[in-house]
Symmetry: C2
Subunit: 303 residues, 2 copies
């Protein structure tokens, strides 16, 4: 089993009130693939410019991620510069340079055509094209953002029709559906296609809707958040990685998968860029799962 | 067993983007006592003016709350007027008239001296005086707000030294301790006195710290929030009411108590003023407990 992810590979510059980085590795496909790599086999499809430092490629290779789908093009790698405030929530974008990403046309390799597929937050036209290239993906999951909801809603809805899982921020679900209650959002979205809906709530966790069932988790609590960049994609990586690893689509297993999403997001924010992923050992992930269960478990009422 | 609460009884005027009220019953002791009354015996200590509509008294009496501690004084009942924005979080205060509440000097009746005690959010000088009047309260719980943290911190810390349970908003805990991590907040506060610390997170639930153990719940999800006023005091009422009902201070039982707090807060916000409390039946409370467990429960990992 394997997961293929299509999304951005970027060079980020990040500022928080406490520290800042130089050029560091970022991008939705980057965070997703590293997070998922602790749970299953991962293939990454993306594009970088000829300015892309080869040392970054070894970050993927060291986690046994298949990088054959990363194409190097003449031009500059996608760059993003952002600044977080004291609340460490939505960053201010200081600079975006699309570079070679502006003409990104992913070619899905033959070996990926029956994988689970994660369409990270990119242009719905590209998501649609990529999906059409797949043979019979075992499962397709989709992310997006307000920019595409406002600018390419029609195409986005076509992709959603073909997807199994939709993973977006709670506020984006409200924007997409025009509904304020998350239950009304879920009804509308599930009617439009996806069988499973995940609403991300940033520092407050996530909720899942599936077959009229509902599950929610608070975020994994941390002493110290260093850099929230990539938390959502790492969440998706943990969630889909665990589903791919177990091949079990029962609600009980999807709940555990959501907890793995939560936990991979918690590692992502404990360091700048993908740094924290480079120091995780397998025991630490299981240990957080166990601790998280202790923190949230309570007994039934005795009759 | 019984809980005695000392706090405000008020006449509120509330506006939301969707609706508004005329003069309605409010106040911290009001919400607390009604919420707790579904779980244990409650006595309320407070003051009202001679303008206080007697029909409000029957709201307490109908829930078998002991109102002998409500003193009617010459003057006006405490009035608060507030307006919520679209996010239904912190309201804007449009008007506060303390009235008879400005000279509130609670006298603790003999029958309350061994009760569990809840010192709702009032002047720490009054909280301290009331606590000194108690014989040996089985358990003392304390609430406060940023106004007293900024204005009477020294006295507040003296009350905290004598309290067993401290229930405050997460942002107020940060203000009180000057710490940003909730774990550092908890360490500092528990050193100052309270054995159990509850941090309320509004629409995002609550966390509990007790003997180096940690528990957290997301808020009970609702289709429709009508009026957030009194959610925190109703939370405290559910929490302490269940502890008083069971007399069990194990961590497992405190977890269940926190869930009851969560659930009583969910009822509070489903109607203006205390209206939703007037239509609850006991089955509904247990039903929400059961549903909440289903929404948050997940299995352990198999080895």
């Amino acid at each position: 089993m394997a997961v293929t992810v299509i999304g951005s590979i970027a060079i980020d510059n990040i500022e928080t009130p406490f520290d800042k980085t130089g050029d560091v590795l970022g991008g939705s496909a980057t965070y997703f693939s590293l997070a998922a790599s602790f749970l299953t086999d991962v293939k990454i499809i993306g594009t970088v410019g000829n300015d892309f430092d080869r040392k970054h490629l070894s970050v993927f290779k060291d986690r046994s991620i298949d990088v054959k789908g990363i194409k190097t093009e003449e031009g500059k790698t996608f760059r993003w510069k952002g600044r977080y405030g004291y609340d460490m929530s939505d960053p201010e974008t200081l600079m975006t340079e699309l570079g070679v990403f502006s003409s990104f046309k992913p070619a899905v390799p033959h070996g990926s055509k029956n994988d689970m597929l994660f369409l990270a937050n990119i242009d719905p036209d590209i998501q649609f094209d990529a999906l059409k290239q797949m043979g019979a993906p075992r499962l397709t999951a989709l992310d997006t953002m307000n920019f595409w909801i406002e600018g390419k809603k029609e195409k986005l809805m076509k992709v959603l029709e073909l997807a199994d899982i939709f993973i977006i921020n709670e506020s984006e679900a409200r924007l997409l559906t025009g509904e304020s209650s998350i239950f009304s959002c879920a009804k509308t979205i599930i009617k439009s296609g996806a069988k499973i809906l995940i609403l991300k709530r940033g520092a407050y966790g996530a909720t899942m809707f599936f077959e009229n069932k509902f599950f929610m988790v608070p975020a994994y609590p941390l002493e110290n958040v260093i850099d929230p960049t990539g938390a959502g994609d790492s969440f998706a990586g943990g969630f889909l990685g665990y589903i791919d690893n177990t091949g079990d689509m029962t609600f009980d297993n999807l709940k555990k998968a959501l907890v793995f999403g939560n936990i991979m997001a918690s590692f992502a924010v404990e360091g700048f860029s993908v740094n924290r992923f480079l120091s995780i050992n397998g025991g630490e992930i299981k240990d957080r799962f166990k601790k998280f269960r202790e923190m949230t478990y309570f007994e039934e009422l005795s009759e």
